[in-house]
Symmetry: C2
Subunit: 329 residues, 2 copies
Amino acid sequence: MSVAATAAEIPIGYAEIVAAAERIAPYVHRTPVMTSRTLDERCGGTVFLKCENFQKVGAFKFRGAVNALLQLDEKSRRAGVVTHSSGNHAQALALAGRLLGVPVTVVMPRTAPAVKRQATEGYGARVVPCEPTLASREATVADEIERHGLSLVHPFNDWNVIAGQGTAALELLDQAGPLDMIVCPTGGGGLLSGTALAVAGRSPETRVVGAEPARADDARRSLETGSIQPSNDPQTIADGLRTSLGPYTFAVISRQVDRIVTATEPEVLDAMRFIWERVKIVLEPSSAVPVATLWNGQLDVKGLRVGVILSGGNVDLEPLFQALAGRIG
Amino acid sequence: MSVAATAAEIPIGYAEIVAAAERIAPYVHRTPVMTSRTLDERCGGTVFLKCENFQKVGAFKFRGAVNALLQLDEKSRRAGVVTHSSGNHAQALALAGRLLGVPVTVVMPRTAPAVKRQATEGYGARVVPCEPTLASREATVADEIERHGLSLVHPFNDWNVIAGQGTAALELLDQAGPLDMIVCPTGGGGLLSGTALAVAGRSPETRVVGAEPARADDARRSLETGSIQPSNDPQTIADGLRTSLGPYTFAVISRQVDRIVTATEPEVLDAMRFIWERVKIVLEPSSAVPVATLWNGQLDVKGLRVGVILSGGNVDLEPLFQALAGRIG
């Protein structure tokens, strides 16, 4: 068992999640909760889908980004922040920075899709390319911090970010009423950690479960082995869930999360298609992972009231619109 | 000017729409209204999107189908109903029949996609194939009526159907508050007619505008010429809007609709992509037509409060999921 992991203190709790919710309220959407009779009939439970795909930038990540920026002191705000991401956190921090007047730098691998870079720059962030290795990423971030005096806003291993992510679960409990269980997609574990802290204070009888792709089951293995297991570039369609846990998120998850369940790639795609076709919302593959675990019974929720946090809706629609454009001739 | 068209009496009005809303309330979803800051900034108005893509069977058509079936006398209910459709009306009537215990027969061209037939049969309807010609369709429907004593529930040229469709606009006005304009996609004109009748009674200062594909601009031409213009198998991606008006819908539209605007095929696709990517909801091309007229300024709505009825969300997702399945290897 890794000393670093188990020794990590957990300096925040329910009070910090509530404070974060109040702090970010003027900036974030209170996203709706949807239901599906088809899903309920299939899994035997009553499922409440918290639609963070409707959040600003199309992902829950905006909550943590706003909370982190609002906690900077004046000097740090003026100097600006840096992060590393080619995903939703990059855009979330970029937009949060624009809205709050904080300069944002995003270190992004050269290999990231041009559309990701453009979207991040479109929100006014400065993008600094790095090589697609951990060493290059860390060196580039360190260099930016040293040269420009920037503050790091890590995508998930940051208590302010974790507190912000936990606000989605608070809203869900307000909107859906008592829940027996909440299931979250699990990559770096920020959403799952924030949810666990929120639930522990508001509704301790609610079990918190993480869901991850079977091909990227590092969180499950980390809980089983008691130390953070690496995630070695797993090939999963759920590209938001490829990351391994960090010391902070492992500390919370190993103590407060009931279990981690997994779904195979075809199961994830089937669940995603079900949501698109029947619930009529645009969901990214990562968000379909918890739905898949309900749809296929990995998670037995018969007779239970279950919340699912649909983490985001950012997906490449080019193949669909290419096909449609082909039809208009 | 066609005598049949202009002579058509309009036997329903606001009271019938209100009665329809009460009648169907236990069966239909009260769909949400969404907004988009990006859309508002682009068109200069304040736009309220009435999300009938979230309606049962994914389309407003369910409203009219339920209202029509609830108005049958006991004998007609037992005998059952027939319609012709390969689109949303087929599934809407099939589900309405299943929920209300009314046998449903749908006459559908042999050339309709298998998925449409399966979906309709999946809701328990009997599908009777016909040749893909108007003559065959009408003969097949007439034969079903004669042999089985069925009642026809026309997709749009039916006052009970029109009254049911008008209930979406009533809800929209309740949800959004006062509106300067409501824009509806326009195919056979059932939604546009019902909306016009609802608005005339509830909010006579609100202008009602129809939107159709430039390639299927028969409603526009019908208003200009003063008689129903045919729609000759137009090649538009907005497959729900290929139909021409009927005598009933023409009677309402020619008297109570402000104007008809059109959008080109690329404009429709662009608007649809904007909605999917930014509003994160699944919309069919027909529903993107009114959005396109706002997005591209055919309809000047600067400073106005504008409602748009997003009519449905049934679209073939196979190309997208084929592309995604290719990625999971």
